[in-house]
Structure formats: C-alpha cells, structure tokens
C-alpha cells in the first residue's frame, strides 16, 4: 500500500467536426485556415458542458475501482457556474458522499497540472479525484476554432496499489500572455504563434522540465515520454531546446480531438497510460503564464486498467458533424429560428428541485425492500406491490437499458432535431420514459441497448440557469 495514482480516465465527445468543413465555410474570409484543415476536432453536443464532460471522465476513472473519495477537484477555465459549486453537482452525479470536499479550480490552463504538482508533492492520507474539463468556445474563422477540442480527463490519487507514482515535480510562474480571456468574455485572445513559441514554450518549458528532473533526481535521457500539450511543430522546437528526442513527445491528439485546454495535459497523460509499460517515466507539462512539470513512473498495476480506461474507446466512437452551421448552432453561436415552441419557459422551482436533487443528479430511484422492484422516480408507495415507505435509494445511472419504444419527434423543440425519446427498461422491473442523446436519426430501434450519460436537460435563458439529468446514449464500442 502506497500513495500514488490509483486510476485514470478520460472522455471525448463523440461528435467530430472535419476541419475542412470549417475551412470551406470561412474560406471567403480567412483563406489561410486551409493550411490547418486536416483531421477532425471533438465537439461537445448541445447538452454537454465542462461539468458533464468531467462527470463522464470521472465515471471512466472510477469504473471498476473500489476506492473512497475524500476530495473532488474540478479544473477548468469554462465551468458553467461562476457561483454554484460545479464540483458539488459532479459529486452528486458520481454518487459521492456528502462529506467529500469539493473544489473548483480555474483561472488558468494550468489549473489541472498545478493540482497535479501539488497532489504529487504532498503525500496525503486522503484520496483525491482530480477532474479536468474544458469546453472553450471559439470565434468563427479563428485558428482556435480549428485547433481546439472539447474533452475531459481524470486522475485518482490515493493510497492503495498505484498504477503510477509521482517522483518529482516543479512549477514556475511567469506572466507570459500567450493568450488570455477576461472573465465573462466568450473567446480567447491569442497572440502571434512565433512569439509564443520562441519566447514562451522554448524558454519556459526547458526551465520547468529541468527543475522537475532535479526534484525527481533524474536525467533527461531517462524520460521515456514527454506529454506537452501543443502543436507537433512547437513540440519539436521544445525538444530541440531541451536536446531531447522529439520521438519521445506524445501524440497531441490533434488528428481527432484537438486541444482541450486545462484538460489536455491530463487527457494526453491518460492516452499515454493506455499504452505505457511498467517502469515508464512520463513527464507531463502544463503551459500558460508559466509552466508545470510532473514526473510520473508507472508500475506493474497499470496493466489492470489498460483497455478499460482512457480516451481511446471514446475517440473510436464518432458521429461526424459535417455541417458547419450545425456546429455553430450546437455551440450557441448561430441563432437558428426554432420557432415559437423554443420559447418555452424552463423555470426551475429551486425548492422542488432541492427536495429531489439526489434523485435527479444521481438518477436515484427506489428499490422496494418488500418486492425488490426497482423504480424511477422513487415514491412512497411501491408501483408494484403498494408497500409504503419500503424504497431504498438505488441509482440507475450505471445500468444498461433496453429500448421498448421510441420516436423521432420533429415537432418538439430541441437544439439538435429530431427530439428522440422513448421508454427504456432497466433491471428488476424499472422502466422510464427518457430523452435520448448522441443518437442519429434512424439509429435507435426497439431492443437497442443503451447506457446512461449525465447531460444538460434544458436551459433557462431568462434566468441563466441550466438543469441536468441522465439520458440514454449508445453503448461504448458499438458502431451505429
């Protein structure tokens, strides 16, 4: 039993936009973007935000892991709520106990790597689930629109049988403004790439890497992989500045994901851990107004999680968003006329919502202790045997469901028509009418099997609020 990294996880939305679709759409204004028009970027569905992305990464990280979580941290520069604990919502969605400490970390693309430095250097008897997610919106026609992606990753720290341990780390602060976003502003403001590369990456990264190596008492040549979230070209320059082998720099996931901001170092680390061998030394770097570097060494236990954790299964699942206007609309940058139905007032009664918050956020139904029938929503009287006050809270969020009936509704308002919903059967008699997500028209059938994912149910544009609930989505690794 020792302290270290106990698990890892990741999540990348299934929706992908071909960069060529962006380049073609804006070629009349920004023909130069054509040079970046390779591969695809990950796009969050309309019902995803940093909070829901983080929940999925957290579920991936915790799947099959028997661990008590003491601390929950969410690192992001794009949390949906400025004042409402985002990590608190996640704690309920992940069914974590009331006593877990929840912390929202932000203000920097280094939010996650800085937490990694701290967690690695401070041995603690308490376990921490570190989540990182970003869902950055981008200006149409910008290089960010091409290069960014939406995604999340998770690392679990604690005492047990670590899959990796942190052997050293360092941080440095430098107010080098390669890009920035003022609070309440939608888009990043980015400076010239050549300056960022020469004065930023090539100078700050070697400095922090050397400090971390000194802390770990390692030589540069002993590092098997460098995780540096930047373009392949910039990574090459950094390798040169460090006199390191550029082949040891990890794939930045630009081909089918894109740069996921604060989540990207962890996402790349999770990707590296999917294929790392025991004893591999990985150096993770975070960049942004300074830099972080963390040296990690894998153990023999890593093999237990390989194939069941990490981004590869999500990256393999893809729905192509071919249409640029659809992408803009999904990310709320194009105001499509969805008609008067879309004006529906989604006001939430907070007191009613609070009474049932655990049921809604954790998809907790009731299992009748008299007849074992599972039901959602739970109620005082059992739907099967009418026994009173016999229902024990039981979450359905991890269950696989079977579709009994469905429709593709073109009348109902949804930001991504058609509105697909149907009756889904779960184990032990549970049955629920639910809104589906991530399905294409024609994909759902009676008897389709589905998993549940935590998503935005609807927005209240008038009061700037959003509600979350669980939706059936395609099973992982099943091709449509």
């Amino acid at each position: 039993m020792s302290y270290g990294i106990l698990s890892f996880g990741a999540y990348v939305p299934t929706m992908r936009l071909a960069r060529s679709a962006i380049a073609e759409a804006v070629a009349w204004a920004v023909p130069s973007l054509k040079g970046l028009a390779k591969g695809e970027r990950a796009v969050a569905n309309w019902d995803e935000d940093s909070l829901t992305l983080a929940v999925e990464a957290g579920r991936d990280c915790l799947s099959g892991i028997d661990a008590t979580i003491d601390n929950l941290q969410l690192a992001s520069t794009t949390v949906p709520f400025a004042d409402r604990s985002n990590s608190g919502v996640i704690a309920d969605a992940l069914l974590l106990p009331e006593g877990v400490t929840t912390e929202d970390l932000g203000g920097s693309r280094r939010a996650a790597t800085s937490a990694l430095v701290r967690l690695g250097l401070t041995q603690s008897s308490r376990s921490t689930l570190l989540l990182a997610a970003d869902c950055r919106e981008t200006k149409p026609g910008s290089t960010q629109e091409m290069n960014y992606g939406h995604g999340a990753a998770a690392i679990l720290f604690g005492t047990g049988e670590p899959i990796a341990i942190v052997t050293g780390a360092a941080s440095l602060h430098d107010d080098f403004i390669d890009q920035y976003r003022e609070a309440n502003i939608d888009f990043d403001y980015a400076l010239e790439e050549r300056w960022v590369r020469d004065e930023g990456y090539n100078k700050l990264v070697p400095k922090v890497v050397r400090a971390a190596l000194a802390n770990a008492k390692l030589d540069l040549s002993e590092i098997h992989r460098f995780v540096l979230p930047t373009s392949a070209a910039t990574a090459k320059g950094v390798a040169k500045a460090l006199k390191a082998d550029p082949e040891r720099f990890s794939d930045p996931l630009s081909a089918n994901c894109g740069d996921c901001g604060a989540a990207h170092p962890l996402l790349m680390l999770a990707h590296a851990l999917e294929t790392a061998v025991p004893g591999e030394k990985i150096l993770v770097i975070g960049f942004g107004q300074g830099a972080d570097a963390i040296v990690i060494e894998t153990t023999a236990h890593l093999a237990n999680l390989q194939g069941t954790h990490g981004p590869q299964r999500y990256l393999a699942q893809k729905r192509l968003c071919k249409n640029y206007t659809m992408f803009l609309s999904l990310r709320n940058q194009l105001d499509i006329d969805f008609g008067i139905r879309s004006e529906r007032d989604n006001r939430t009664s907070q007191s009613a919502s609070y009474r049932r918050r655990k049921d809604i956020t954790g998809m907790i139904g009731g299992r009748c202790s008299a007849c074992n029938t599972l039901q959602f929503p739970r109620a005082q009287l059992c739907v099967k045997c009418s026994a009173v006050d016999t229902q024990v809270g039981t979450s359905l969020s991890g269950l696989t469901g079977r579709v009994k009936s469905y429709t593709e509704d073109w009348l109902a308002y949804t930001p991504l028509p058609p509105y697909i919903y149907g009756n889904v059967e779960f184990e032990d008699g549970a049955n629920c009418m639910l809104e589906f997500t991530d399905f294409d028209p024609g994909q759902v059938k009676v008897d389709s099997t589905v998993r549940l994912v935590f998503r935005i149910k609807d927005f209240d544009a008038k009061r700037h609020f959003r509600r979350y609930f669980w939706k059936p989505a395609p099973l992982l690794n099943t091709k449509p």
């Binding site: 004006e343 529906r344 939430t348 049932r356 509704d409 009348l411 049955n431 009418m433 149910k457 609930f469």
Partner: protein
C-alpha cells in the same frame, strides 16, 4: 350495493359548435353557440338548468380558471357550476358530473359544457406547458405525436409486423375518417384524402406523418341531462340514455414498471371492461353499433380497437384493412369524422363524441346517418400512453 348508471339518466338536448380555426370566436362565443342549440333541442328555458359542469383543459390559453367562464357567459342565475379538468377526458368528465348529479337526485336538470379555444397560441400543435415542478426536472418535453408515435414502434415490434404494413393500416384509418368528415358540416377538415396522401405526408414524429395526426381546432359541445323519470314526466318520448360511464387513470404501472410493453393502452382496457359490465354488454363487437374513439393519432385508433375488444389482439391491422371500421363496416368508427377531422379542442371532444352518438341514435344524423344503431361507444384518452386517463362511455336509446 351500487347498481351503476345504466338507464338512470336521459340526455334531452345536445349542442355542438362548428369546429375549426375559429379566429372570430373566443371560448365564450363557442360556449354560447353550443348552448343555444342544446337549449332549443331540449325545448326548455335557460333558468330550468339547476346545476352545471364546465370542462376546460388549457384554461391559461383561453377563458381562465373556475366555473366563471360558463356562469358568466350564460349569465346563469347563480346556480352551482363546477369546472372539471381531466386532460383529454375533460369533456366526458363534465358530462359524468352532470349525469351523476341528476342520478343522485341532487337536481332535475343539469348542463355539461365542454369548450377549448386552442388557436390563440400563435403556433401549430398543442400549447407548450409545464408538467409540474418535479416532472419538468426529468421527463422529456414530449409532444403528443411523439408520445403516441411510440405505440407504433412498440406495436410493430411486439406483433412483428413490418412498419410499412402498420403505416398502411394507419393511412386507411385517416382516409376513412376524412371521408366521414366530408359529410359533416360541423367538422373542421372536410376533404377526402387518399392513402398515398397519408403515406407521403411529412413526418411529424416517426412513424407518424401529418395525416396521422388529428387537427388542432376550437370548439364547444354540451348536453342537457335529466333523470329518466323526469324525462318521462316532462313528456320526452324517444330519448337517449346513458348506459355506462367509466374512467380509469394510470397509477404509474405503465410509466415505472416493465410489465407494460408500450404497445397498448392499459387504462383503456380496464375502462372498457368496466363499461361493458355496467352496460351489460357481453360481446362488444356484436352489440356495439358504432364508436367515436380517441383518434388523436391514427395509431391510437388502431390499438384502441384491440383494447376495446372489438378487434382481436394483434388483429387490428387486418380488421382495419378489411374495412371493419369504415362507414359501411361491421362497427363503424368515427362516423362524424373523429378527432381527425374535428380537431381536438380538449374540453369539448368527449361531448362532441357523445353528440354524434346522440344524433345517430335519434336518427338525426342527416347525410351520415347509419342504419338503426342501438348502442354507441365513446372513448377518450387523456395524457400520453405511458400515463393517462381513459374514459369509456356507452349510450343507447331509452329501453
């Protein structure tokens, strides 16, 4: 020991407004249009009405809450008036209130009025609405076509029928109702359609196309009832009596328990069995002369034929295609054009159905008169198949 409602109450007058996009009318004018006809039909004075029930569903869309839309509109002399709401069974519920009042002897003459002014929303389909503070947190924002469309996906899967065959039967249902609607001067939609029109219409909610959906319209219908004894005392000779009025709301079984497969209407089956028992009907297929069922969507009518025990389970497609429910079929259904052609002003529909049964039983249905019908069934389904309120009523001539 309860003895049921059979032959205790007589309907002595009925009225029905013209249904349609009544841009010129509010709920108040629709109420008066139906009332004027019923009063003349019953040959009584307004002040002879002692109690009244008003059925209105979307009060926020039109006339507002409470008894007042009825008592104010008709300037009723401060008699007791109760507003009822039970989704699409609302009109029938207004009638049930009036029927039970005269059966109980609480009054001699009672009025049941149902009205809905839907076409003031500014958009097509039914109005958007909240489902309640808790259900809004988790239930899909389903539309009626989307909720009912699922009957088709579940029915096709259960009975292993090709969706094309099911769609063809659904088209037949709409073609038949449109043909009936043409004959009815009070119907909203009065034009024939072909099977191809129905099959080629744009998709509203898969697999329902536009022609599988009933219209959205404004309308009102009403009934004046009294006890059978009183009817005789008042000199009425041939009159229609209530044979059964039954209601079955969901209790969560369909919504929360896997025992329901989504291919049928659980509550309709229960309400039908109770209604047949109350009316003394042993073989509905042979004894019922005609039906007005809740054809909000073509597929609803199809599965309801089985739920009412008129078609055998799994046999509705064949029965429909064989013409069993056509005007000249064994058990004609929607002889007035149905919800399909009348649209569905929610509070009015149940009473509009009863109005057609009333006219047919009395031989007053004009061009669409059936040959000597003796028992007519009406059916409403409020809500969505997975949680709803079903009513089944039977009307016949005075024994």
């Amino acid at each position: 020991m309860a003895t049921g409602i059979k032959d205790k109450v007589a309907i002595i007058g009925m009225g029905c407004s013209r249904f349609g996009e009544r841009w010129d009318c509010g709920a108040e004018e629709l109420i008066y249009e139906a009332f004027k006809e019923a009063l003349a039909d019953a040959k009584i004075e307004r002040d002879q009405i002692e109690m009244a029930w008003l059925g209105l569903f979307f009060q926020e869309q039109s006339a507002g809450k409470s008894a007042l839309p009825l008592s104010m509109t008709l300037r009723l002399p401060n008699i007791p008036v109760t507003r009822v709401e039970n989704m699409c069974a609302t009109g029938t519920e207004a009638l049930r209130g009036a029927v039970y009042a005269v059966a109980a002897g609480a009054c001699d003459i009672a009025l049941a009025m149902g009205v809905e002014k839907l076409k003031d929303t500014g958009y097509g389909g039914l109005p958007e609405r909240t489902k309640g503070t808790f259900d809004d947190l988790w239930l899909p924002n389903a539309t009626a076509p989307g909720a009912f469309a699922q009957l088709a996906s579940a029915y096709a899967a259960k009975h292993k029928v090709d969706m094309k065959d099911l769609k063809r039967a659904m088209a037949h249902i709409s073609v038949k109702s449109h043909a009936n609607g043409v004959l009815n001067p009070k119907a909203h939609l009065r034009k024939t359609i072909t099977e191809d029109d129905a099959l080629n219409a744009g998709v509203v909610a898969y697999p329902l196309g536009l022609m599988d959906c009933c219209g959205v319209s404004d309308g009102a219908a009403c009934a004046i009832v009294t006890s059978v004894e009183q009817a005789r005392a008042m000199g009425y000779k041939d009159f229609v009596t209530v044979k059964a009025m039954q209601l079955a709301p969901s209790n969560g079984f369909e919504m929360s328990n896997s025992g329901w497969d989504g291919s049928y209407l659980h509550t309709t089956r229960i309400a039908a069995q109770r209604a047949y028992a109350e009316a003394g009907i042993r073989n509905p297929r042979e004894e019922i002369s005609m039906m007005e069922v809740h054809d909000c969507f073509s597929v609803t009518e199809l599965v309801v034929m089985e739920d009412l025990g008129i078609a055998p389970e799994g046999g509705a497609i064949k029965a429909v295609m064989d013409g069993m429910f056509d005007r000249d079929g064994e058990v004609p259904c929607q002889v007035d054009g149905g919800l399909k052609c009348f649209g569905h002003p929610i509070g009015a529909s149940g009473l509009r159905m009863a109005y057609e049964m009333y006219l047919q039983l009395l031989g007053r249905a004009g061009d669409r008169q059936l040959a000597s019908p003796s028992l007519g069934l009406t059916h409403n389904l409020g809500g969505h198949p997975f949680r709803n309120v079903a009513s089944v009523s039977v009307f016949g001539l005075h024994a």
